[in-house]
């Protein structure tokens, strides 16, 4: 019986746990609840994926109200895949969060921290699973508001201004999305995405449809941190608590990319989104500039969290390039990179979290000789870094390989060159860290060396996942290509 209710449980469990977390208040109890709830969400999303593999799609209607009138959840390969990414990352990072948060956030606000964490998880899962456009906006705001809170909890005062800046830009983005949804509602009279897609066909050639599409794209561009709307991201990731950087970098922008894909392919349809509108050209230009400029800026960063944040903007460039190709192969590459990038950025930010826990700093200058004092932590960083570059046998290689093949298939050679140039730039900024850590001069001896096991184990889990998915692509690439097919089939 319970298997039929899984779509609702996916969102309801973390939503109910969040206020419970507030009541518990004690740091350990709140952490335990967050970890258990993340774990349950992960199990639910695995079970959902299992159901999808069997029957293709799941439609879930709330309160028995039929689809166009009630709120419906519609799950297919594409969002089951994203749900898996979000819950898996939340589970792994929440193990790490215990010690990391204890060292960065005062005891009396840790309960609040985990409440915001669970709300953020609720929002992200809700955005992904819902089949209703307005419902999506509400979940988007739940996740955004809680992520502003999470970022503001960083112990540097710059975290406050970073959160404020993110709040302003994020709200503008969300309001743009609201306008877009409003215009679509005016045109179609429905909020259900499936229904909207069917009714849009007749009225797609109108100014309202085009304006709605433009508002949605720009609003989501802000949420994705697509160049040049990325200005909020570097500071937000750099000054947030370590666990939050890892969680958000691996999930938040990914979910926003998924929403863009959902609207482009499932609601508006590929002919409108990439044919009637010049989005393909725009995306290929913005994606290329993002890859090259953000990678270059990353080279000059001294704060390593900021460096990784810029690298994230570059990775979003790759995701967008895959979309702009407008072929199933390109879309597969995007979805695959969504998964792989979550793994590599998760691993890298967790490694930095370990370093921050030990040194209290993530500045490049403080890392001298760290490779010998914290070999396990730096091991994670090296694996994550190699994956970021896209070296064979790592997950990063697989997604770059798919992306290059997709670009070659379309005959877009300049794009191939840009992808390779981006990788070379990544070599530079990853190498700077490795050089300092292994060849740099050791600073004065600091007592204690490695980070505690509860932080190293999750970091290594992600590092091993990077290697595993670099060699076994059945799961990641298999589901990604299925999801791309579903999106391309025009059937959401």
């Amino acid at each position: 019986m319970i298997s039929a209710q899984l779509p609702a449980l996916q969102v309801v469990v973390p939503l109910l746990a969040a206020p419970l977390c507030l009541v518990l208040h004690r740091p350990f109890a709140a952490w335990l609840l967050t970890f258990v709830v993340s774990g349950i969400s992960l199990l639910v999303s695995v079970a959902l994926l299992g159901q999808i593999l069997e029957q293709g799609v799941i439609d879930y209607t709330f309160g028995g109200w039929a689809a166009p009138f009630g709120i419906a959840y519609h799950i297919d390969f594409a969002n089951a895949y994203v749900l898996l990414i979000v819950t898996a990352i939340s589970t792994v990072v929440s193990i790490f969060a215990k010690r990391s948060v204890a060292s960065e956030i005062e005891a009396h606000s840790q309960g609040l921290f985990y409440t915001a964490w669970l709300l953020c998880l609720t929002g992200l899962l809700g955005i992904t699973i819902t089949g209703d456009a307005f419902n999506l906006f509400v979940f988007l705001e739940i996740s955004s508001l809680s992520s502003y809170v999470l970022i503001a909890m960083g112990n540097d005062r710059k975290a406050l201004t970073a959160a404020y800046q993110y709040l302003i830009m994020g709200t503008i983005g969300a309001t743009f999305i609201l306008i877009g949804i409003g215009l679509l509602y005016m045109l179609t009279g429905t909020l259900n995405m499936l229904d909207m897609a069917q009714r849009l066909v007749a009225v797609a050639d109108s100014r309202t449809a085009r304006t709605g599409f433009a508002f949605l794209t720009v609003g989501l561009g802000l949420k994705i941190a697509l160049f040049p709307l990325h200005l909020w991201l570097p500071n937000a990731y750099a000054y947030a608590p370590s666990a939050v950087s890892a969680f958000l970098a691996a999930t938040a922008t990914k979910v926003a990319v998924y929403v863009l894909l959902r609207f482009m392919f499932s609601v508006f349809g590929i002919d409108f989104a990439l044919g009637a509108m010049p989005l393909s050209t725009m995306l290929v230009v913005l994606g290329s500039v993002a890859v090259l400029s953000a990678s270059t800026v990353a080279i000059f960063q001294h704060n390593l969290k900021r460096m990784l944040a810029y690298s994230s903007i570059a990775q979003i460039g790759y995701l967008v390039l895959g979309v702009s190709l407008a072929t199933p192969a390109g879309l597969t590459a995007t979805l695959l990179h969504l998964f792989n990038h979550a793994l590599m950025k998760g691993a890298l930010f967790l490694a930095l979290g370990c370093i921050a826990w030990r040194l209290g700093s993530v500045r490049l200058g403080d890392l001298g000789g760290l490779g010998y004092r914290m070999p396990w932590t730096m091991g994670v960083f090296v694996i994550g870094g190699l994956s970021l570059i896209g070296l064979p046998l790592t997950a990063g290689f697989i997604s770059k390989w798919y992306l290059v093949l997709a670009a070659v298939e379309r005959g877009w050679w300049p794009v191939v060159l840009i992808i390779i140039a981006g990788s070379l730039l990544a070599v530079i900024y990853v190498w700077r860290v490795i050089e300092t850590a292994y060849l740099g001069k050791t600073k004065e001896a600091v007592s204690g060396t490695e980070a505690p096991l509860s932080m190293l184990v999750p970091a290594w889990l992600l590092a091993i996942a990077n290697l595993y998915f670099g060699m076994h692509t059945e799961l990641s690439a298999g589901i990604a290509s299925q999801a791309a097919m579903v999106l391309f089939g025009g059937q959401p």
Partner: protein
């Protein structure tokens, strides 16, 4: 184009651009939040006015009335107003914290303090 018949949209656009301009141009963090509020309010009006049906009555079931206005956008925007209030509250709370940390709510001041470190 019927300019006068679309006057609700003109109001929406005017409010939206005013709010947007305040967000971008003002260096005062509180004023930015006010601009953001104006920006969101314009979208509320967009939604509320789209629910009006020509010659439609208040959407309460009554005898002798056949045409009703559409109540759904109003319900939707209630949710969005709540979201807007939450955003404003959080934004102002952040401004209070920023003021405690920097002693100022002017963007220029804050930038200068960050750079001098």
């Amino acid at each position: 184009m019927n300019v006068a018949g679309l006057y609700n949209y003109w109001i929406v656009i005017l409010l939206m651009m005013t709010g947007f301009y305040v967000v971008i141009s003002s260096g005062n963090l509180v004023k930015k939040i006010i601009g953001l509020n104006l920006f969101q309010a314009s979208v509320f009006i967009l939604y509320i006015s789209m629910g009006k049906v020509m010659n439609g009555a208040v959407p309460i079931l009554r005898e002798g009335v056949t045409t009703y206005s559409n109540p759904l956008p109003h319900v939707l925007i209630l949710t969005a107003i709540v979201v807007g209030v939450a955003t404003t509250a959080l934004g102002l709370a952040l401004v209070v914290r920023i003021r405690e940390a920097y002693g100022s709510v002017e963007e220029d001041d804050i930038h200068r303090q960050d750079e001098s470190l």
